[in-house]
Point group: C2
Chain length 242, copies 2
């Protein structure tokens, strides 16, 4: 894919968010621990966090396959949390309001340290947008919390399709009035980049080797010939010559 890659032909950078921009795991572990302390319930909050994220892909499956009408990620997160309440033994011990607040922990995720200065530099030349499975209000709240500045919040909810369904990528390019090769997909996940590349997007793999914790086994290295391979948004800017 990286033959004849010309940074000047790219007009917009489209960002995966969970894992690529923000450290969801560290943030959710901290939020879950505080939730436990506040509500007087104990659990292995690291396992709880990993299982919550483990339900992420399966929860979108019924929507992707069309078996279920469009349902935003906040609602899927909340449904998964109900299951975890049973599994971890605190169902009925916590108020609906506290469960709502814990669901909104996904609106309060910390960015990786290179992200804010990296985006500031990248936006001098490129249009920067989200291409995330997060819903708009989640991304708006998260971006205000983390200090992220986007030119537009796009992705699953505005296109009503979850990645890796093609329309999530193509509809985002269409909102920007760009052709896929004018868009550079930035992600820490091989499958996201391979899907984007198959539709003509340019691709940048940004390694996030601790996204899934200290023993991460997946996405440590690029699995295809992406246009750019790097490990921070600052170095991404350097490689693009910004």
């Amino acid at each position: 894919m990286n033959t004849s890659f010309e940074p000047d032909q790219v007009r917009a950078l489209t960002f995966d968010v969970f894992g690529t921009v923000v450290d969801w795991r560290g943030s959710i572990i901290r939020e879950a621990q505080a939730f436990g302390a506040r509500n007087g319930v104990t659990a292995d909050w690291v396992a709880f966090t990993d299982q919550w994220r483990g339900m992420y892909q399966p929860s979108m499956h019924a929507v992707r396959s069309g078996k279920r009408p469009w349902t935003k990620l906040d609602d899927l997160h909340r449904e998964s949390l109900e299951t975890l309440c049973e599994r971890f033994g605190f169902a009925g011990k916590v108020s609906e309001r506290d469960l709502d607040d814990l669901t909104r922990a996904w609106h309060r995720l910390a960015p990786w340290p290179d992200v804010v200065p990296g985006l500031e530099r990248l936006r001098r030349r490129y249009v920067l947008v989200t291409l995330s499975n997060g819903n708009v209000s989640l991304l708006v709240n998260l971006s205000r919390f983390a200090g992220l500045r986007w030119d537009a919040v796009l992705g699953a909810e505005p296109t009503r399709h979850y990645k890796p369904v093609s329309e999530a990528y193509l509809g985002t390019a269409r909102f920007l009035d760009l052709q896929p090769p004018q868009c550079l997909m930035v992600a820490a996940h091989n499958d996201d980049l391979i899907s984007a590349a198959s539709l003509g997007f340019r691709t940048a793999f940004v390694a996030r080797p601790t996204e899934y914790g200290p023993h991460q086994q997946t996405d440590l290295r690029p699995a295809a010939d992406f246009d750019i391979v790097t490990d921070s948004f600052q170095r991404l800017a350097e490689q693009l010559g910004v």
Copy 2:
């Protein structure tokens, strides 16, 4: 409508853009004059600009009524321009590329002087989004050009309905996961605010008495009992106590 208005109950400010945020008329007159000089065609560019804007509401009518599938504003602007080329006698004398560029003059509109500092102040407390009939790429380019920072670019294209169709307002509130009374519609136009208020939005009328030029007759004063009446984004911030 302004009984019991509490600024603390508002979470998001939803902005009309053309006329409220940017001086489309002054900007398009300048762009059209430069276009004429570049292409060696003469016309009354003030009349040309007023007639182009005059075709704005009629051009959306077929989409609003459902007679025509969703068509974004860039395409409507371009169709209106074709008609004006005939009317002003320069059809066939100008390249398609130059007509494309003139259509994109709507992506390069200057903000009123109070807008950039006013938005900076308002965003300390409120989520700021567009609720405009402009398409996403137009608003993204315009915002980069004018230095406007939004939390999200919403309105007609993401909801696929042109104001004043209810769904343009309600769909925008839904993207934000807010109820209408948590949204304050900010506009220089009575009809936009009356439509928003009828759906439960809070309303701020910001007078822009020269939007339509020195002899403007409409929208000089509020035509209903809006929650806030003012004449700049700075004073809007003051009235909201930001």
